[in-house]
Symmetry: C2
Subunit: 242 residues, 2 copies
């Protein structure tokens, strides 16, 4: 039976994907989900996403050894150990560290997906691994797969859409029934992949980050298939599954 | 100054485009807007879109010489002169005829756009003409341009998205500031144009029409740039502007 692949374009609609019983792939390709993948691939043990700075501070009080990571309006909040920079998180010494992460969009998309049994963390970095792992789970459990795009303030975001297209391209052909949104994302990725970095630099979020000097993060976020891990969000925290 | 090009993915959000003051391009690429373009290019004088069968019947009573055209669940309603088939409307003798049109999605998208001063009727058939005319108007009036996709029952539709991408590709380069949705549509069209017909046949609406024997309409609807007219919806009716 073909696996149905669908998509919610904004984080607030994550509940629709959870209601369908789908395996969810959350994507915040220039920020949170890429940061999570980079951190875990770099040896971190877990990432606990939280929405507010207060929750982050409380959790740190409980676990003084946890690292505080995140951003507010692109900057590292006061008292935090690290900002939400995937490029930096990929090279900092994070072995066996537990991370508390709070960001503006991506962490919310994860938390809004929590009603689903399987919530995978997607990015360009681990696109192929995500495609393989989620297809395996959806076949074993006779469910569909749904992308949930984080977007910015519940707006459609090009980079997340292209990342969903990249993951879709990595599913085996003929194994899937794509929704119109997913077909569109696949076609857009096909149209973009010849100069993916430039396309993403020209997205609204890309332009915003470029203006603030985060070009290294954009370049890093566009590296496709460099990691084979698939992090899953379960019981409030994200851990990698080999 | 660059012209901003944005997009509403479903008809019910047409009011947002109208509120921005944008020149609107309504797209229902496999049905209503393609039928309208075909009818007017084929010599019809006007098309009056109405939502209900009752409105259509009342208008016909007022104007017994008007043709009743439309569909309900893909079929010509009882007492109607013609169904909503763009291929047939392109070859029927329609010279100087006024048409009353009622369909499930596209006519609603037009009517929901009526608060805008300029509502152009877009399709693959007149993609280039629409790009040129709407850009001219938006420059003259310092407004943006917004695509409003009809979709099916307020769902995202691939064919309308690709048509918006086709029109976007026909704007002169560097004249525009594209929203992320519009960039995505442009990239998807670039990814699809090598086999546009097949891509559209594989969309949900395409599959639906194929199963019901409307392949001729799909093929016809994909003919790009065959007409140079740009119909505008104004004061309740659509007429072509040379």
């Amino acid at each position: 039976m073909a696996v149905c692949v669908d998509m919610e374009l904004v984080a607030k609609d994550a509940y629709k994907a959870a209601r369908r019983g789908d395996v969810i792939v959350v994507i915040d390709a220039l920020r949170a989900t890429t940061s999570i993948v980079a951190s875990l691939a770099n040896g971190a043990k877990s990432v606990t996403p939280v929405v507010t700075l207060k929750e982050a501070a409380n959790l740190r009080k409980e676990h003084p050894d946890y690292l505080l990571v995140g951003e507010r309006e692109d900057h590292k909040p006061k008292g935090f150990d690290l900002g939400n920079s995937p490029a930096i998180l990929a090279r900092e010494p994070l072995q066996k560290k537990n991370i508390i992460l709070t960001t503006t969009n991506g962490t919310k998309a994860l938390i809004k997906s929590k009603e689903s049994k399987w919530v995978a963390v997607g990015s360009f970095l681990n696109a192929r691994a995500v495609a393989e792992k989620t297809l395996e789970i959806s076949r074993r459990n006779a469910t569909g797969i749904s992308f949930v795009l984080a977007g910015e303030r519940n707006r459609f975001s090009l980079e997340d859409f292209l990342c969903a297209g990249a993951i879709t391209e990595r599913f085996p052909k003929n194994a899937l029934e794509l929704s119109d949104k997913t077909s569109a994302a696949l076609l857009a990725f096909k149209g973009a992949k010849g100069n993916l970095l430039e396309r993403i630099q020209n997205s609204k979020h890309g332009q915003h980050l470029m203006e603030r000097g985060f070009n290294e993060d954009i370049e890093f976020s566009c590296h496709t298939d460099i990691y084979a891990i698939v992090p899953f969000y379960r019981n409030g925290k994200v851990e990698a599954v080999a």
